[in-house]
């Protein structure tokens, strides 16, 4: 009797262990599948806004312009090369951002996971994403613009032509007066 009880208990424990393992594995797979969710493009978000409305999405893009601080949160606009979409994020994420894209810099390439709003109720109907988590995919960099030598040459040639025209005009006026 005692032996049977022991075997039964052992069997139950084994089943419990298997259940726990299955649950842990399942949760892990679920979490990783969410995190590994494929990034949605801005075109998809705009064209199929109703499908994504209120859902969690992953979106990637370059930080452009500048970070606009609004109290405890900030607006950051991320451009994925087709469109830029506004991301409403907690200021704690701002430490990740080191470059904003403009003429002189390539902005950081970020991946944001957040809730997509087709017409955000808290932001006057804006199409935006409220960030839950943020990851830097690629660091931005300063863009060094070197002078194109042909431009310099062309400017000198054109200045010469204008000067010749002005001298020619001056001479013709003098000749006319004589």
């Amino acid at each position: 009797m005692r032996n049977t009880d022991y075997t039964d208990l052992k069997g139950r424990l084994h089943r419990f262990k298997s259940l726990i393992m299955t649950l842990v594995t399942g949760s892990w797979l679920l979490v990783t599948s969410v995190f590994a969710q494929q990034a949605v493009s801005s075109i998809d978000l705009i064209e199929r806004a109703r499908d994504f409305d209120g859902k969690e999405v992953v979106y990637q893009g370059e930080v452009i312009g500048e970070v606009m601080n609004r109290g405890g949160n900030s607006w950051v606009n991320l451009n994925d090369a087709d469109n830029a979409i506004g991301i409403w994020m907690d200021n704690n994420f701002l430490g990740l951002i080191s470059f904003c894209g403009n003429y002189k810099a390539r902005g950081d390439w970020l991946e944001v996971r957040g809730i997509f709003n087709r017409a955000c109720k808290s932001h006057g109907g804006d199409l935006d994403i409220h960030a839950i988590s943020l990851k830097k995919i690629r660091e931005g960099k300063v863009i060094k613009h070197r002078l194109v030598p042909e431009k310099q040459k062309l400017a000198i040639i054109l200045s010469g032509v204008l000067l010749c025209l002005l001298i020619g005009q001056l001479l013709s006026r003098k000749l006319k007066r004589k």
């Binding site: 606009n77 003429y103 804006d126």
Partner: protein, 500 residues
């Protein structure tokens, strides 16, 4: 009998065209200074090259076509219509050298869109464009809004009857002051005073909304120039949505409305009577058409439940409507949202608002409020005539700065322009449809370009067919100059072939 234009005609046209091209070249000094200040070396050279090209071409024209004669009506109109083409071709040079546009045609498209204060754009990677080129995009709106010829009249052409003919040719038929040069200068004074105030207001709002002072002022100046001149360009690719700010939207609404008012009304409000604002036929018509179109638009949006609450509907719906009605083209939604979310009713209301436009002698395009007001007065008059006894005599008046008696010739002229605009909107839509775009989308984009608005439902892009780009360029040009000078230009060329 049609007379073939003589060499003297061509010389007069060439001489004044040369002056205007020189004026354009000199205006490139502003972005050049900006390029130097922001240490943008390549854009600085872009503007040196572009300015030199303008100065050389203008000087050559002046030397070859030197004349002391004043332009007559035909020559004045031809100068104006060619000046706008020349401005777009020469103004596109810095765009082309910057490398942010796909082709020279795209550059000319954007330059025409800028000068005609439309706001449709084909620029690529706008978010990485230099400040100098960005400033030029907005400056050409500021120049175009006041008028390319008004600029030349203010600084380069002496006051004369010929100056007035060119002024009229630019789609303005009202003189504010007795002398046309003084009128042009007044237009610039009003614009510059508002530029300072508007830039300051936008910079402060920008700063409060988290922008740096430098960006606040730069964006403020750009947004003001394009907003007051009802243009619609913005320094970032998201247009006004970039700022995510209600305050910014409110300030831009005020700027857009100010830009859509008649300069003569500005003059009266500044120096004479504040009551004019409520009495004037244009402001009254403007108010009524805004209410009417917003009513339809709101029905359309609420029927589809596009926005979650009334605030969202008002903020998005009213903003796009005012932007369309004033002919500005600022957007706080993405272009494709018009098609995927707004629905046919709201889009139709917006198309009507875009087609109507703002006031005459302002920076807007479209049919314009004075004409709409006159047509409705005439309709009311005719209904009254039917209702009253046959023997009764009555005179219909309207108030536009002063009391004016409504006459048949005013109604005829208003109706003709109305028909021309409707034809222009329709023909552009047909071209769009021929390229496979749905009717409503094609009509939306066509009306937007012909009424110099700049709102887009997504058709306008660098990938659209070249012929459609040319169609929109033509629409922007003819819409801005209000037909007459373009018709005169065509007749001028026809006279070469058929004249004796």
């Amino acid at each position: 009998m049609i007379l073939r234009p003589t060499l003297a005609d061509l010389k007069t046209v060439g001489y004044y065209l040369g002056k205007i091209i020189i004026g354009l070249g000199l205006s490139m000094l502003f972005p050049l200074v900006a390029a130097i200040a922001f240490k943008e070396i390549n854009p600085a050279y872009d503007f040196i090259i572009s300015a030199l090209i303008c100065l050389i071409s203008g000087k050559l024209l002046i030397l070859l076509c030197h004349t002391d004669k004043d332009p007559n009506w035909v020559q004045g109109m031809v100068v104006v219509s060619l000046a706008w083409l020349a401005a777009s071709i020469f103004g596109a040079v810095p765009f082309y050298i910057s490398g942010h546009w796909g082709s020279y045609l795209d550059c000319v498209f954007d330059a025409m869109s800028g000068f005609a204060t439309t706001g449709l754009t084909l620029v690529q990677d706008l978010d990485h464009l230099s400040r100098a080129v960005n400033l030029w995009r907005h400056l050409i709106m500021f120049i175009g809004g006041q008028g390319v010829v008004v600029l030349a009249l203010s600084f380069l052409v002496r006051g004369s009857a010929g100056a007035f003919r060119m002024y009229v040719g630019e789609g303005r038929d009202e003189k504010i002051l007795p002398n046309v040069v003084e009128t042009s200068r007044f237009i610039w004074i009003v614009s510059i005073v508002f530029l300072i105030l508007g830039t300051l207001a936008l910079a402060i709002v920008g700063r409060l909304e988290g922008m740096s002072w430098l960006n606040g002022f730069f964006h403020g100046a750009c947004i003001f120039m394009a907003g007051f001149d009802t243009g619609g360009f913005a320094p970032q690719s998201q247009n006004i949505l970039y700022y995510h700010s209600l305050s910014y939207e409110i300030v831009t609404i005020v700027i857009m409305v100010l830009g859509s008012l008649n300069f003569k009304l500005h003059y009266t409000l500044w120096l004479q009577s504040k009551k004019e604002l409520t009495k004037n036929i244009e402001t009254r018509t403007f108010f009524m058409t805004i209410m009417f179109t917003f009513f339809i638009l709101a029905i359309g949006l609420s029927k589809l439940g596009v926005y979650p609450d009334a605030l969202g509907l008002f903020r998005k719906g009213f903003y796009q409507l005012i932007s369309g009605h004033t002919g500005t083209g600022y957007q706080t939604i993405y272009a494709r949202q018009f098609i995927h979310e707004w629905g046919d009713i709201a889009l139709t209301a917006l198309i009507i608002a875009m087609g109507l436009g703002g006031a005459v002698c302002s920076t807007t395009g479209g049919i314009k409020m004075l004409r709409i007001g006159i047509i409705f007065k005439a309709l009311y008059n005719d209904i009254k005539r039917v209702m009253l006894p046959e023997a009764s005599i009555f005179i219909e008046k309207y108030h536009h700065i002063k009391e004016v008696i409504l006459q048949d010739r005013q109604v005829r002229s208003a109706m003709l322009i109305l028909l021309c605009y409707l034809g222009l909107y329709g023909s552009g839509a047909i071209v769009g449809m021929l390229f496979g775009y749905p009717a409503l989308e094609a009509l939306f984009e066509s009306t937007s370009s012909a009424a110099n608005v700049g709102l887009s439902c997504g058709i306008t892009s660098a990938a659209m067919p070249a012929l459609l780009k040319l169609t929109y360029i033509f629409q922007m040009w003819i819409g801005r100059l209000e037909f007459m000078s373009i018709f005169t230009l065509f007749s001028f060329f026809a006279a070469f072939v058929r004249g004796k």
